[in-house]
């Protein structure tokens, strides 16, 4: 089967859906002829023109508010925000409007608005280009929050986002954009709320989010050499969150570690832990553990940046600590 990068796979989803549905349009800075800072739209301007590949001024609140109104009146806007840090300028629009319109209108208005762009700490991007912030979005009723970790998932989840009627925050970790995976030619969709068991095992369960999936798998390779089989789960969507798959795994392993590059307090790990304790307490043979990035803004200097995110040694140690409990 052919291999595509994460970015190319997501772009293929977009290309297919734009051909199918003339109400889809994309807004963002440099997403027209330039094709996007991360090549998210390259080639599309020539196919679909300026009304559907709409270059914007630097006005994040403005174009997100505009797309909110557009989504209420029959079109399907995609905001290509480049770095999630930039849409913090539009948090009022996102939380007070985008997330609440369906509810306020008692379901008579839909909000098919997609916000997509990069997240994550990598490459000395420094603190205004390294955010993830998905715990904040997950906290808000009304959003779908999607964090794909490979090309195959990126395409299938993006297709689902483009067919749905809910606002979707589609977050693409910068360290994964060029990673390749097999992507079939045939059309497929990945439903929201369905975690992937990316590695099977029986000794412990690791739920890894975003960039931590690859790191978890690397650590598990090392442990497999010692005859220890760890199960790794990639939730893929954080809202909705597939708790049943995690519970089923914990039922089997009795141990749970949640790995996430973003900070600990009120993060996705806290939520998963609380739900597993509430629903799977009797399955647990050890305390639930978390491994997170350091609770700090993201520093620039490479050694400092590296100190913020869990490194391979820490990942391996965290799993060993869990097994030793």
């Amino acid at each position: 089967m052919r291999e595509l990068t994460f970015t190319a796979a997501a772009r293929e989803a977009l290309t297919e859906e734009m051909a199918r549905d003339p109400s889809i349009f994309v807004v963002g800075e440099g997403i027209g002829q330039r094709g996007g800072n991360f090549n998210t739209t390259s080639g599309l301007y020539d196919l679909y023109g300026p009304m559907r590949l709409r270059d914007t001024p630097i006005v994040e609140r403005g174009f997100i508010g505009m797309c909110t109104g557009a989504a209420m009146t029959g079109t399907r806007p995609i905001v290509d925000f480049m770095f999630v840090d930039f849409i913090l300028d539009a948090m009022g629009e996102l939380i007070n409007q985008v997330a609440k319109i369906q509810y306020m209108s008692s379901g008579r208005l839909k909000m098919p608005l997609i916000l997509r762009g990069s997240i994550g700490i990598t490459g000395a991007s420094a603190t205004h280009h390294s955010g993830s912030y998905f715990p904040m979005f997950v906290n808000i009723p009304g959003f779908r929050v999607v964090v794909p970790t490979n090309a195959y998932d990126a395409k299938g989840l993006f297709k689902t986002a483009l067919r749905g009627d809910d606002p979707v925050i589609f977050l693409e970790h910068k360290s994964l954009l060029n990673s390749k995976a097999q992507v079939p030619e045939e059309e497929y969709f990945i439903p929201f709320g369905q975690a992937a068991v990316v590695r099977e095992g029986s000794a412990a369960t690791v739920v890894a989010v975003g960039s931590m999936v690859r790191k978890a798998l690397e650590a598990c390779d090392a442990l497999a050499a010692e005859g220890i089989a760890i199960e790794v789960i990639d939730p893929r969507t954080l809202a909705p969150l597939d708790i049943p798959t995690i519970l089923a795994s914990v039922h089997k392993t009795g141990r749970l570690l949640i790995m996430d590059e973003t900070f600990q307090p009120c993060g996705i790990g806290a939520e998963i832990a609380a739900q597993v304790v509430a629903q799977g307490f009797d399955d647990l043979d050890a305390p639930i553990m978390r491994l997170n990035g350091v609770y700090t803004p993201t520093p620039y200097s490479p050694p400092l940046e590296a100190a913020v995110i869990p490194n391979p040694t820490q990942v391996l140690q965290a799993i060993r600590d869990l097994l030793a409990e």
């Binding site: 003339p22 109400s23 349009f25 009304m51 559907r52 709409r54 914007t56 001024p57 006005v59 609140r61 403005g62 174009f63 997100i64 508010g65 505009m66 797309c67 909110t68 109104g69 557009a70 989504a71 209420m72 009146t73 029959g74 079109t75 806007p77 009022g92 629009e93 007070n96 409007q97 319109i101 369906q102 509810y103 306020m104 209108s105 008692s106 379901g107 008579r108 208005l109 839909k110 909000m111 009723p141 009304g142 779908r144 749905g164 009627d165 809910d166």
Partner: protein, 318 residues
């Protein structure tokens, strides 16, 4: 030109608001209530040109916009009373009135976003070649918010079919417009974004009707957005339960504006021009009062929403 329809619409808003104000005093409205009394000519003159396919986005002082756009008074009242028969089924209240069936795309408890959302409705209209317009109603206070500047600029650079209706009633809560900006010429501020911007007497329904008609004609013809700077005054308190004068305005000022009441001056104009007779006005008054009273009874006797439905409609699948 249906002169009496404009009169009837203004009166419907006025009588509905008066009922709501009394209901608020009587403790029948559990939340906030910002009335539109004194500003009726603006929603009336603008919405007279709109169909249900045109999209209106409004703000905290939005009862008049909803009514003029075609939301029945009974649904507005029921919403303020928190009943399931309200236009938002009890999920919204005074500041979140939704009736997409008639193109009322919502009022907002946040000052500003309606300006951006109307711009987006203009974008949809262009992309889908609908021939419709997006309309934003907002106050002078919103003109100092980033949404104003961002929305006007976007609508202007893309020639979107949007009508920005600023209801300049001189105060934002208790803050005079002259305190909040160095340039109190609202139309000039808008025109710096390169759009058609006109000032109009917001208490003169025929003036609003004419200016809005021209702006909407331009928008539908692809000639871009129009900004209407409607000069007006709210004659009740900012919100029910607050003082009418407070420390920020004088009795003389209030009286001077009451003398320019948009409904009584319009009625006098129609009589003096021989367009309508006192008998016709008396008839309209009876009909409107009966309808508003019926609406009030309907709202009062409507059931509350079922608490078991509280989490419905967070997402599109229920």
């Amino acid at each position: 030109m249906n002169y009496l329809a404009l009169y009837r619409q203004m009166l419907e808003i006025r009588r509905t608001e008066e009922h709501l104000a009394k209901a608020h005093q009587a403790g029948m409205i559990p939340g906030a209530c910002h009335t539109y009394v004194g500003q009726e000519a603006i929603a009336t003159g603008v919405c007279a040109h709109l169909t249900h396919d045109d999209a209106v986005f409004s703000t905290h002082r939005g009862h008049g916009h909803a009514l003029a756009k075609g939301v029945p008074p009974r649904e507005v009242m029921a919403e303020l009373f928190g009943r399931v028969t309200g236009c938002s089924r009890g999920r919204g209240g005074s500041m979140h009135l939704f009736a997409p069936e008639v193109g009322m795309m919502g009022t907002s408890g946040i000052v500003g976003p309606c300006i951006l959302q109307a711009t987006g409705a203009g974008y949809s209209a262009r992309l889908l070649n609908k021939g419709t317009v997006g309309v934003a109603f907002f106050g002078d206070g919103a003109s100092n918010n980033g949404a104003f500047h961002e929305g006007l600029n976007l609508a202007a650079i893309w020639d979107l079919p949007v009508i920005f209706v600023c209801e300049n009633n001189l105060y934002a809560t208790e803050v005079p417009f002259s305190y909040a900006t160095r340039n109190t010429d609202m139309a000039e501020r808008a025109s710096t974004y390169g759009m058609n911007a006109v000032s109009v007497d917001g208490n003169d329904v025929l003036a609003v009707y004419a200016a809005a008609g021209e702006g909407i004609r331009r928008a539908r013809a692809g000639e871009g957005p129009t900004f209407l700077d409607c000069k007006t005054y709210r004659t009740r308190a900012h919100a029910e339960g607050m003082p009418s004068l407070g420390t920020y305005r004088t009795q003389e000022e209030l009286d001077a504006w009451k003398a320019r009441d948009p409904i009584t001056t319009y009625r006098a104009h129609l009589v003096s021009e021989g367009i309508a007779s006192e008998d016709e006005f008396a008839q309209i008054e009876r009909e409107v009062v009966a309808m508003v009273e019926e609406s009030f009874e309907f709202a009062k006797s409507s059931p509350y929403p079922d608490p078991a439905t509280v989490a419905e409609h967070v997402y599109s699948d229920g």
